[in-house]
């Protein structure tokens, strides 16, 4: 299977460990990735609050490029997923709006025909690759590991933009995958809540309260690690966990994995290759428990 790869800014910026880990596991699974040349940021919902037309035009530009490649879009970011899905719905539902956007793209010789269906690696693994194939590649099952899912808002809501009605299995896709990797799911209330990242520079206290609440809740339920398909959630849950922990006045020490890293560990790839050493919260207790060498 071949896809037009949309990695998103964070996987090449503040979470540089994500991009190579994703590429690595895709290679092992026979998923061919061709990065969309000159792709731009989706706007992350931030640009949309200021100028939706500009943000949607940039998304249409990415979609048009993928159409030219003749490949379905694969992303590795929950936020990108949601923002692309929402933009796509707005454009494909309103031919006038799409025409306006295309008029701006025309100067570059691009046209978005409305056929893109951006999907996250998480969904593609279940919908295209199949869990049987994933199971086949699990050579080091994460048995004995208790793993808490953390989706990221944009890959679960609003359900209408994400075609959840047609694909109800998407709502439990992360739990399904955790089980396929051999780990035990730690179900907890916070799994579909907000990590607090979008208000980090606006109301840090609230943002940290969210990180503290979710990580401590999962920890108290016995989680060895948390796994997320969203690099923005990862930034907050991992990078800001020390600060959140200080605000909460208790230690949490919960390793946070990117989705491809969890998959990679179960495929027997070394923690080093998956970039686990780049995390702020040490993943060592997890890898020791798993018996994974460096």
């Amino acid at each position: 299977m071949k896809y037009a790869f949309f990695p998103g800014c964070v996987s090449q910026g503040a979470a540089p460990e994500l991009y190579p880990a994703a590429v690595l596991i895709c290679q092992r699974m026979g998923i061919e990735l061709e990065e969309i040349r000159g792709w731009t940021c989706t706007g992350a919902g931030v640009m949309q609050e200021r100028n939706q037309l500009f943000a949607d035009t940039l998304n249409a530009r990415n979609f048009a490029k993928a159409e030219q490649m003749g490949l379905p879009i694969l992303t590795i970011c929950s936020t990108c997923q949601g923002v692309m899905s929402q933009a796509n719905k707005r454009m494909t539902r309103d031919p006038e709006y799409l025409a306006e956007i295309n008029s701006h793209l025309a100067e570059e010789g691009l046209e978005y025909k409305g056929t893109a269906e951006p999907r996250h690696l998480l969904w593609i693994l279940i919908e295209d690759i199949g869990l049987d194939k994933v199971t086949e590649l699990v050579t080091r099952p994460l048995s004995g590991i208790r793993m808490a899912p953390f989706y990221g808002c944009y890959i679960v809501r609003p359900t209408e933009a994400l075609d959840i009605e047609e694909h109800p299995e998407r709502q439990t896709s992360l739990e399904t995958l955790i089980e396929t990797l051999g780990a035990t799911v730690v179900d907890f209330e916070g799994k579909t809540r907000c990590c607090g990242f979008p208000i980090l520079t606006i109301n840090e206290k609230n943002s940290m309260a969210m990180v503290g609440k979710h990580t401590s809740e999962a920890k108290d339920l016995g989680a060895d690690a948390m796994v997320t398909p969203c690099p923005l959630c990862h930034l907050n849950l991992d990078g800001y966990q020390p600060k959140a922990s200080a605000q909460l006045k208790r230690s949490v020490d919960l390793p946070i994995l990117h989705l491809p890293q969890a998959i990679g560990l179960a495929m027997g790839i070394s923690p080093q290759e998956l970039g686990l050493q780049k995390h702020i919260m040490s993943t060592q207790p997890l890898t020791v428990k798993l018996g994974a060498a460096r």
């Binding site: 503040a14 000159g38 992350a44 919902g45 931030v46």
Partner: protein, 334 residues
């Protein structure tokens, strides 16, 4: 249809008050709603089960509660669609607000916030000769937000209110938008400057995380979060830009408009007003140091995407004001 209803109950007059779960096995019609089942339990099995309800038609807004962990109207939720593979459903009181008894919560917090946004028209300036004119288009636009039935489902599931009860919250901010977007409110141009100024303060529009919980929870399609985004757009247009939220969206758009991608190193610095905000810079230092020592600092030199000129052209065309103010664009001191 035989179903099991698991209810989180609470009795303040119990010897040791505390919430507890109780299961009821009930037999109801296949087309029953969650509310039908709850009423049946109250009437036939346990008269002490306490809940609010009235119209049974999703109009009065009385029966908002958490159904399988998410807020919604019990009268609008088909039981057959809510039950799991074991034909069971969990019912809890709405979140965020104080539980009075069983499924009844205290709406004081909800109404306090609605009152705080002064939910009535406030025209300023000289009165017109005749009536205030409002276009059909503007009223049609408002019909979405005036559909609110004050059920509190959005407040129940708000991720910010969950950690900070001082936030104005989705219902009150959507209500505020109902007035800021009304051409009769504010000055002769319909700009509600005072409201937008107040709502730009802490606990207001910029504290929303854009998590979409309220959009999902609202049974009437009000989409409170989208209204909050509307408020942000109005506030920016009215010039209320001296806050971290406004700076954040401006700096974000500028970064993408100029280079095609997000400059994650400079964005947080610009959001707090530049490196001259010493308190913020000092608070970032440990986080920055940890990122640096773990090899995950964003690149110092932010690269442009291939054929960036095409992105910049769209930026100039669609966001001319911001594209024109390029002062300190690539400087961390901007």
């Amino acid at each position: 249809m035989d179903v099991t209803i698991n209810i989180r109950r609470y009795d303040p007059e119990a010897e040791q008050p505390g919430s507890y779960w109780e299961s009821f096995d009930v037999s109801v019609a296949d087309n029953a709603t969650v509310l039908d089942a709850l009423i049946k339990i109250r009437e036939e099995m346990d008269g002490t089960l306490t809940l609010r309800c009235s119209c049974r038609s999703a109009i009065c807004g009385s029966c908002a509660m958490r159904i399988n962990g998410h807020a919604g109207l019990a009268c609008k939720t088909a039981l057959a669609l809510a039950v799991d593979e074991n034909n069971s459903v969990t019912i809890e009181p709405a979140g965020v607000m104080r539980v009075v008894k069983d499924l009844v919560v205290d709406f004081e917090l909800f109404w306090d916030k609605i009152r705080a946004v002064e939910p009535y028209l406030q025209p300023s300036g000289a009165e017109p000769e005749g009536e205030y004119i409002a276009s059909n288009e503007s009223m049609l636009h408002l019909s979405g937000v005036t559909a609110c039935i004050m059920c509190g489902a959005c407040v129940s599931d708000c991720t910010v209110l969950e950690v900070d009860p001082t936030f104005l919250g989705p219902a009150a901010l959507a209500k505020a938008y109902r007035f800021t977007a009304d051409p009769r409110d504010g000055n002769r141009e319909g700009v509600s400057r005072e409201r937008l100024r107040n709502l730009s303060e802490a606990t207001g529009m910029w504290d929303c995380t854009r998590c979409n919980e309220c959009v999902q929870a609202c049974p009437k399609g009000v989409a409170p979060m989208d209204r909050i985004m509307g408020l942000r757009e109005q506030a920016l247009q009215a010039g209320f830009t001296n806050n971290n939220g406004a700076r954040h969206t401006g700096a974000f758009t500028e970064s993408v408009g100029h280079s095609g991608r997000l400059d994650e190193l400079r964005l947080p610095i610009k959001s707090v007003g530049g490196v001259t905000n010493m308190a913020a810079m000092i608070s970032y230092a440990p986080v920055g140091w940890r990122a640096l020592t773990h090899g995950k600092m964003p690149p110092i030199r932010h690269k442009n995407v291939e054929n960036v000129e095409n992105v910049r052209r769209l930026f100039r065309k669609l966001e001319p004001e911001l594209a024109g103010s390029q002062i300190g664009r690539n400087s961390p001191f901007g």
